[in-house]
């Protein structure tokens, strides 16, 4: 049996629904040395900001039970340098390129998105869940009003397909998703990392300089899946689901919860070929269950 793994996310066609999550796959180069990454559906770039950022000081990673805390702090070369040095490489690959954009102020976001919008990229993922963003002391992705404002402004400056990446720390994730839809987002992706912390009890201080850091990995999967399910039931635009997907069974759960595409983040650190193996597993499952197209199971729960 031939399974059809193609998915259409708004107007963008993916050859399969597997996308590597922002910040865990760089700009694709490193993993391309390990396996044929063109078998994947797409890549989200490391979060880019208008200008280069060196990221956070101190420890940046900490292992927790079935999870990791990270505090990279958006280290990146800036959008211009990205366009200069990395985009060509990505463009030559048979992969959907999604550019993830973060920022500290609304103006920064607008300028970064404007610059990227002149380039040949397939999609923008607007990261409104970055812990370093300040807007009245609040990340853009926590409260409805600030989410509305940024999506509205960004929508004005780009014609590229626009996916808004939500934070699981949002006050009401369904409301925020709806607001994004109302403001013209073409899709939603979720979840980013959970605000969390660890303490070094011998040193009697927080492990991270920033005190809080972002939790990802299998630990968060049950919560992420619930959030993806809730959002999918409440918006009409397509959703990219993520959060702790480490094997094909997890991936199928997210698809059954309603996700059009799925993103793989932390799993790359467990197994660099995780994306490929998840893809193979989905194919096997579809064959076993005689599912011809992913559409048959999407949102079935």
């Amino acid at each position: 049996m031939m399974c059809n793994l193609k998915v259409k996310f708004k107007d963008v066609e993916f050859k399969n629904p597997i996308i590597m999550a922002s910040g865990t796959f760089g700009f694709g180069r490193e993993y391309s040395e390990i396996y044929d990454i063109e078998k994947l559906g797409g890549i989200c770039t490391k979060g880019l900001t208008l200008n280069k950022r060196e990221g956070n000081d101190g420890i940046r990673i900490w292992e927790t039970p079935s999870g990791i805390l990270n505090s990279v702090g958006l280290q990146n070369p800036g959008v211009r340098e990205f366009i200069e040095s990395e985009l060509d490489f990505l463009r030559k690959l048979d992969l959907i390129t999604i550019v993830n954009i973060g920022g500290a102020t609304l103006d920064e976001y607008i300028e970064a998105v404007s610059i990227v919008s002149n380039e040949d990229v397939d999609m923008i993922e607007l990261n409104i869940s970055c812990p370093n963003v300040k807007e009245g002391g609040m990340a853009f992705g926590i409260k409805e009003e600030s989410a509305r404002k940024i999506v509205r402004e960004i929508r004005k400056v780009t014609k590229l397909p626009l996916v808004v990446k939500l934070s699981p720390n949002a006050e009401d994730i369904v409301r925020i998703a709806k607001v994004c839809e109302e403001e013209g987002a073409d899709g939603i992706s979720l979840v980013n990392t959970f605000n969390a912390m660890a303490i070094d009890i011998r040193k009697k201080r927080a492990v991270f300089k920033n005190i809080y850091a972002g939790l990802s990995g299998p630990a968060i999967k049950p919560i992420a899946l619930r959030m993806v399910h809730e959002v999918c039931k409440n918006v009409s635009i397509p959703v990219m689901g993520m959060g702790g997907i480490t094997d094909w069974k997890d991936a199928i759960e997210f698809i059954m919860a309603g996700a059009t595409c799925i993103q793989i983040g932390t799993a790359n650190f467990i197994n660099p070929r995780a994306g490929l193996e998840i893809l193979e597993g989905i194919k096997r499952f579809m064959a076993e269950e005689k599912i011809e197209s992913i559409e048959e199971i999407r949102g079935i729960v």
Binding site: K46, E54, E63, V72, Q75, T266, F269
Partner: protein
């Protein structure tokens, strides 16, 4: 997936693990190692201690969860190795000292082996500093012109910097920093092997940043070996 050939305890908490297979790797490079499924989540970076046609060896100290699991491995058990990763030590000539502190001696064995085979290496001295007890003296001795062991003191005090063109060092940051500082007065180039917590190991996730004079570098990809004077040490 590789098979464990042997996993010998050489001190209470120090082991040499040998796995079967034809592996690649240069001195100073490392592998991301795991011998478990998804728990703990991350793989553990271990330097190549030795490599041959049909085996690879790691020298490791039991630190926490991951290395404890490694320490229980028995011959024929499975182990997952991804690599080789990182840049490794440069293949230099002239007069060289290798300086290891504690378990930091691990990558220096392959370095000694390779350098001793390299034409143009005029002098190869090895310095090893330990707390309480020395290990593997005989193993290292065979590649060294001189082997210096220091127990419970400062190995740095034993080094005659002016004798060397190059120093390769691995061990506690404080020791490596001291070597870099002391070498400044001479014409000695120091290469240090940096340890940082890692996730991907391949250069994609940016959690292993090492501060250098030219900005943040990825320890796993741009390192783990850095030119000593470039590094801005944490200590």
């Amino acid at each position: 997936m590789a098979r464990v050939i042997s996993n010998k305890r050489i001190l209470k908490d120090v082991f040499v693990l040998r796995a079967e297979g034809r592996f690649e790797g240069e001195m100073g490079q490392f592998y991301m190692v795991r011998a478990w499924d998804k728990f703990p989540l991350l793989s553990r970076p271990l330097s190549i201690h030795d490599i041959g046609n049909d085996y690879i060896e790691f020298l490791y100290r039991v630190q926490g969860q991951g290395t404890s699991i490694l320490s229980l491995l028995k011959p024929s058990d499975e182990i997952k190795l991804e690599g080789p990763y990182g840049n490794g030590f440069p293949l230099v000539k002239g007069k060289i000292a290798l300086v290891g502190g504690g378990i930091g001696i691990a990558p220096l064995y392959l370095a000694a082996k390779k350098l001793s085979q390299n034409e143009g290496v005029d002098l190869l001295d090895i310095y090893m500093g330990f707390r309480n007890e020395a290990i593997l003296e005989d193993k290292y001795k065979k590649f060294a012109d001189n082997l210096y062991i220091n127990i419970n003191g400062f190995i740095t005090d034993d080094i005659d910097f002016k004798k060397y063109d190059y120093i390769f060092t691995c061990g506690p940051e404080i020791m490596m920093k001291k070597i870099v500082d002391m070498a400044k007065d001479y014409n000695t180039k120091v290469y240090v092997s940096i340890e940082k917590r890692m996730a991907c190991g391949v250069g994609a996730c940016l959690v292993c940043s090492c501060k250098t004079k030219s900005g943040n570098k990825r320890t796993c990809k741009d390192g783990p070996v850095f030119f000593g004077e470039d590094v801005i040490f944490d200590v």
